[in-house]
């Protein structure tokens, strides 16, 4: 009887050991799987084939510190829906794919003071603290606080034939506020090109766009850049 109990306990210990061994063996596999699906852009590339966006991203300052998921916060239903699309549908090109929506509060989580977003990429808190916050830069503040999307006539507005040429999906929300992507990510071909260009300014400030012969060889940033970065009001552009 005693030998039987001892044998049974021995078997239980063996089973428990085998279970723990299974857990230990799976942990690195689970970590690799999580890293691949959450931190490796190749996972997203399995469905989202967009070389132009990848190239832009590789050139941007976001590379290596943010992941696709940090900015493109899709619901869980996105994954089975995309899998179905990849298997059963044929997409001709980027025009068949909905432009991803990245609301301004996502940008704010890194680029504005006191906006803590949940970042799951490799960005460390130390690096996050080092990122220049644009709250106090005079021209960013002016754009962030603007009640409407139209600049005044003196600012080159009021003369638009189209409401907004870039047609970013943020505008469809009807919030009537200027969003980060209005200036830092315009059309599809500009995906992941976060730097602004004169064309972004001229989209709204059409009336004061530099023309040939009149500062025509200058970019808007040549004079107004300080106003978007400096924390001292009254500098260029104000």
């Amino acid at each position: 009887m005693r030998a039987h109990v001892a044998g049974r306990r021995g078997l239980q210990a063996l089973v428990l050991g085998a279970f723990c061994f299974g857990v230990a063996a799976a942990m690195p596999v689970a970590e690799v799987g999580y890293d691949y699906t959450w931190r490796d852009p190749n996972f997203c590339d399995d469905c989202h084939v967009h070389d132009y966006a990848n190239e832009r991203y590789a050139q941007s300052r976001h590379v290596g510190v943010t992941t696709c998921h940090d900015c493109h916060r899709v619901p869980i239903s996105h994954y089975p829906r995309n899998l179905y699309g990849v298997v059963f549908k044929t997409y001709a090109g980027p025009e068949d794919i909905r432009t991803p929506h990245v609301p301004s509060h996502i940008c704010a989580s890194c680029h504005l003071e006191g906006h803590d977003g949940e970042l799951t990429g490799p960005m460390t808190p130390e690096l996050l603290a080092e990122i220049v916050k644009v709250d106090e830069s005079p021209l960013h503040r002016l754009h962030l606080d603007a009640k409407g999307r139209e600049p005044s006539e003196a600012q080159g507005g009021g003369d638009h034939e189209d409401e907004h040429p870039s047609g970013h999906p943020d505008h469809a929300e009807g919030e009537g506020r200027i969003t980060c992507l209005d200036c830092h990510g315009s059309g599809d071909a500009e995906a992941h090109r976060f730097e602004t260009a004169t064309s972004n300014c001229v989209d709204c400030h059409r009336g004061i766009a530099p023309h040939a012969g009149q500062l025509g060889d200058l970019e808007c940033r040549d004079c107004h850049f300080d106003g978007f970065l400096g924390a001292v009001s009254g500098r260029a552009g104000l």
Binding site: V15, A18, F21, G22, A26, M27, A30, I76, S77, T120
Partner: protein
Amino acid sequence: MTLRVLVLAFAGGFALTILVGFMGRFLWVAYRHGGLF
């Protein structure tokens, strides 16, 4: 019989860890990020 039980125990531990440590973690973080729908 004993070997089969041991293999099953190993597979159970392995599968449970993949389910929780990978799938569960992925789904939880994805839910926190973007919700269900």
